[in-house]
Amino acid sequence: MRMDKKIRMKARKVEFFYGTTQILHGIDLDIFENNVTAIIGPSGCGKSTFIRLLNRMHELVPSARLKGEITLDGKSITSADVDPVEIRRKVGMVFQKPNPFPKSIFENVAYGLEVNGVKDRHFIEDRVVSSLKKAALWQEVEKRLHDSALSLSGGQQQRLCIARCLAIEPEVILFDEPCASLDPISTHKVEELILELKKDYTIVIVTHNMQQAARVSDHTGFFYMGKLVEFGRTEDMFTRPREKRTEDYITGRFG
């Protein structure tokens, strides 16, 4: 049996509200270093809501209210004196719909460095190239770095968003249904990429695709109606789930 790795992020007794509506109920969850943690569950159960807490993106909604604690390397990320900008540098995010900026491919990848105060052009150029390589996009775009990012295909755009996220060297990367708008070939590429990235990064991925969760993840959390029903090793979850509801959902027998 393989040893469990170090815990990078922890959620403890997390309760989350939009206004007076409670969305998440008492979530306790650990995210292990250099692991892929999959979050699964039916639509509307709070998966996106949960991972957006992990880099404080929930604060964009004025009515959002959070109780409980979320930590990164043992330090709270949610207390008022922590700057969300700092957290987002360490915990990157790739969204469901590819959202490249209407700028050139190069500028998209350089963006994170520039807003974080990097001025050295050589450094930026090197980092853009290495990020595009890591995101398995380099060969397709090396001749057209200064074309608009919007001229790329959907799958390429999503890999560009991944490259853009890698450029600021986060430690944890959150993926919210990264393949939802992609064709099978692009999906396959992104999955391979995620497996490659987990050597260097800690990854959380929300997915509706059970095969995808089984293929890429080491741990899986099953959310249902704002509660974390079951959390464990992916192989255990998919072969012998402890909860009936997990089994029903995984096998597609869900009411």
Partner: protein, 288 residues
Amino acid sequence: MKIKVKRIKEILGFGVLHVCMLCVLMILAVIVYDIVSKGSGVISWDFLTKPPVDGMTKGGIFPAILGTFFVTLMTAVLAVPLGMGCAIYLNEYARDDGLTRFIRLSIRNLSGVPSIVFGLFGVALFVDACHFGTSILSAGATLGLMTLPLTITASEEALKTVPRSYREGALALGATKWQAIRYNVLPLAIPGILTGMILGLSRAAGETAPILFTGAAFFLPDVPNSILSQFMALPYHLYIMSTQHHNIALVRPIAYGTALVLIVLVFLMNLVAVIIRYRLRKKGNAHG
């Protein structure tokens, strides 16, 4: 059979819409034709570059053109930053609570306030309380206030058209809120904002009531030499030439010439707005 009825209804419907459109076009054409035909006779290089002479029965309207230009510039200097600032604050920073909604409502209602009321307000605030006197500054500030509702609302609409995903994308990369606004939101919103601003300014350029008591002069032989000078302005000059002059019939052509110049000026500004929007949009689609 049914299909035929539908088809006839559609043709009728389109017909009515066509007629409406033609009516509007015709009214516009008649106005333009009237002013151009009666005004173009007096237009000459001298008319555009010389001051009025002989009790304003002869000569040109140069001081009025220049005055309108200066006061519009003053309006722009004051209203553009203020309007943009307010819009950015309201749309990006302010919480969507009762107070913000009240502020928005007030701004919208402000646009319904008659311009003569703004004029009176300008006298009280800028001319008297601020001791700016009757001047380009006072008149520009008054016009600026008057255009604020329009410019704020137009800017807010422009900001709203920027998709949320761009803001999220920027923030998720460690950008501060201001950086996201500066680098992601504004570049996309600027064409819309500028268009709103220029439309607001072109409306200000044609207003008489707000400048009536705040700085416009009946007749000045010299061009203004500071922002505290009084000035002549096209719309006010037009008003004088058509109602206040001692020999209205004699100066009628000059009034029409003034109207023509004013209209051309306003059209040009609107044209500039369209061009700016077109060029920035093209650029935005290409890279930024």
